[in-house]
Amino acid sequence: MDLNETSDESAFRAEARAWLEANVPTSPLPSFDTEEGFALHRVWEKKLYEGRWSAVSWPVEYGGRNADYIKWLIFEEEYYRAGAPGRVNQNGIFLLGPTIMEVGTEEQKAKFLPSMASSEIVWGQAWSEPNAGSDLAGIRSKATRDGDDWILNGQKIWASRAVWADWCFGIFRTDPTADRHRGLTFILCPLDLPGITVRPIAQLDGDTGFAEIFFDDVRVPVANTLGEENKGWNVAMATAGFERGVSLRSPARFSEAVNRLIHLWRTYADPTDTALSDAVTDVWMQAEGYRLHTYQTVTGMLEGRPIGAEASLNKIFWSEMDVRIHEIALQILGPEAERMEGPFERWVDGFLFSLSGPIYAGTNEIQRNIIADRVLQLPKGM
């Protein structure tokens, strides 16, 4: 155990910090869930790519720096520290990208990864369906083989970024006789094809971070299949595991939020009110605990101990912590917490967004089942 950075790690941190200080936009970009904001975030991603900072953990040949997980965490710390923009292509770079590297063909890697790293192609995610939310195995959207093409039909929902994205990835039922997790295939699909209708879904804050996607005889080449046909569930679960495990919410995000909370507390709160200072201390400990836990996890991954169902613990932990951070901030803000716009809107908006955390990427109820069944070995009960 050595929790000091190596000189190599420190140099990496310094390089990232210097680049970010020189390049991060001085005023915040508009939300990437607006047309204008989406475009501006794409420009930012392009700049990141040009500095080779858009996908630091990727191989150099695809635009990355071959950074190990520790360095990835260091980069994330510097990124949040610099107050840099949200990652509009997170679905691609952090979710789909690693999956393509694991199961994609060389041709797919060459085709999709560089344009992903540069955000020339921004990816939307298309997994859930109206009747397949927590129960992803209930998927009904179909892909029917026609020569060298798939014909896609059905409806997806909760497709994040899909309103403005270029492509999407999702799973489709390819063997109608197979049940639940079987007979599904992971398919990549441009969003501008004939037969595709994207209907934005307005969130609680009015923004459209999600969409429904309707597929009506949409034709894509079979070459767009990722991984084996009818094995899409396994491909998707590999992605979901990585998402829940580490990359979906890097610790730096919460450390940064807690730092802002402490600043808010110092500025506006009564320092003698122990109920409040205890609450702030608690979330500081949570964010710090999550950071340490993640360093421990990735050290384990580097030493060959893969992350398993424990990923579900992370999902519950960060999502509940995020809600709590924002609850405390809103309590400190008092009457200001009632305003959607104004000097503190980031906190109010962040509160609303935090409420989606215990729901998306598998509700926390599902995660608790997974922990009980796979980690604690309790009997299945569904």
């Binding site: 859930s128 009747n131 939310g133 927590s134 129960d135 209930g138 929902i157 909760w158 879904i201 307005a202 969130q203 609680l204 009015g206 999600f210 109920a275 809600v323 809103l330 309590q331 008092g334 009457p335 917490a337 009632e338 305003r339 959607m340 716009e341 104004g342 109010v348 409420l355 989606s356 215990p358 729901i359 998306y360 509700t363 926390n364 109820e365 608790r368 089942n369 569904m382």
Partner: protein, 320 residues
């Protein structure tokens, strides 16, 4: 000792519930939100006709002459329906406080609309649709408003400036406006919580995952039961606070604070649990749940949040 409402009180509340079921559906509330007025004029007229707006105004001033006990179930029904606009401010404070002033008649018949500006907030809710704003010791008219973008479209938030001040008292039954609002908000929040729970229970009966209604899963059952628990145990304290306020009990302020603290926390819990039960749908603009959630998030902080009121209770019961 008799802790119950009279048949008349129950029937009046039932009458209001029936009225609101028709005149204040989620579609009506959405319309008020989307019109950026946060107000339903036709409903206002009906509430006036029914005597809701003037419930606390003495009969001598043309009102119903009711007490806060008579009114408490009405506040709760208003919350169940998520009635938008300054109905609590007008009914619970402005109309009774100004009943014997020149504004009295127009407030009793609802032809003028009043709202409040309480000390602990820089904002005035509903100012844009209000003809007058009642502040501690003054009525303000002819003010101009600037939108402060409140989270609840049924409780639009403004800063106001300019206007003319006329001195007036904002006391009702010997209590300051903020306390009467804390009490009426507590009841409103209870109604809103009950509605969120009903809406989520209905969703949980319909929505299927893993081949069953999600309401059949223990995790959902327990989320819902715990939410209900907090609401049910906020009710008796709220009704007691109405009694204490009506009878001038020495504990009135403590009892109001207890009600507001419990109701605020119950409403927050209900909003969290029912949103979780809804899943992604609960996070959308389309789902009606937001109408009560956002109202809860606004009112739980307005007129003193749970911490403020808990500390007032603590100051009363721990000292000595």
């Amino acid at each position: 000792m008799k802790f119950s409402f009279t048949d008349d009180q129950r029937l009046f509340a039932k009458g209001l519930r029936d009225l609101l079921a028709n005149e204040c559906t989620p579609a009506h509330v959405r319309e008020a939100w989307e019109s950026h007025t946060g107000h339903i004029p036709q409903l206002w007229t009906r509430l006036s006709e029914m005597g809701v707006l003037s419930m606390l105004v003495p009969e001598s001033a043309g009102g119903m002459g009711g007490t806060l006990i008579d009114a408490i179930l009405l506040f709760q029904e208003l919350g169940r329906a998520g009635v938008p606009g300054p109905v609590l401010e007008h009914m619970a404070v402005a109309a009774p406080a100004l009943a014997n002033t020149s504004w009295g008649p127009s407030l009793v018949d609802g032809s003028q609309i009043a709202t409040l500006w309480v000390d602990n907030s820089p904002y005035v809710a509903h100012a844009q649709v209000a003809n007058l704003v009642l502040r501690n010791e003054a009525v303000i008219t002819g003010f101009s408003t600037s939108d402060a973008h409140g989270i609840d479209g049924g409780r639009q938030l403004f800063t106001i400036s300019g206007g003319t001040e006329t001195s007036a008292s904002a006391e009702v039954f010997g209590l300051p406006a903020s306390d009467v609002m804390a009490l009426s908000s507590a009841a409103y929040l209870i109604g809103a919580s009950e509605r969120m729970i009903e809406v989520a229970a209905e969703y949980a009966r319909q929505r299927e995952q893993f081949g069953k209604p999600i309401g059949s899963f223990q995790a959902v059952k327990h989320l819902m039961s715990d939410a209900l628990l907090k609401v049910e145990f906020a009710k008796a304290p709220t009704y007691r606070a109405a009694w204490s306020a009506s009878t001038g009990a020495a504990t009135a302020v403590r009892d109001i604070s207890m009600a507001k603290a419990l109701a605020s926390e119950a409403a927050y819990r209900a909003s969290r649990s029912t949103m979780q039960v809804h899943g992604g749908i609960g996070y959308t603009w389309e789902a009606d749940l937001q109408l009560w959630m956002k109202k809860s998030w606004a009112l739980m902080r307005a007129y003193g949040d749970a911490t403020f009121h808990r500390r007032r209770v603590g100051a009363s019961v721990l000292s000595k």
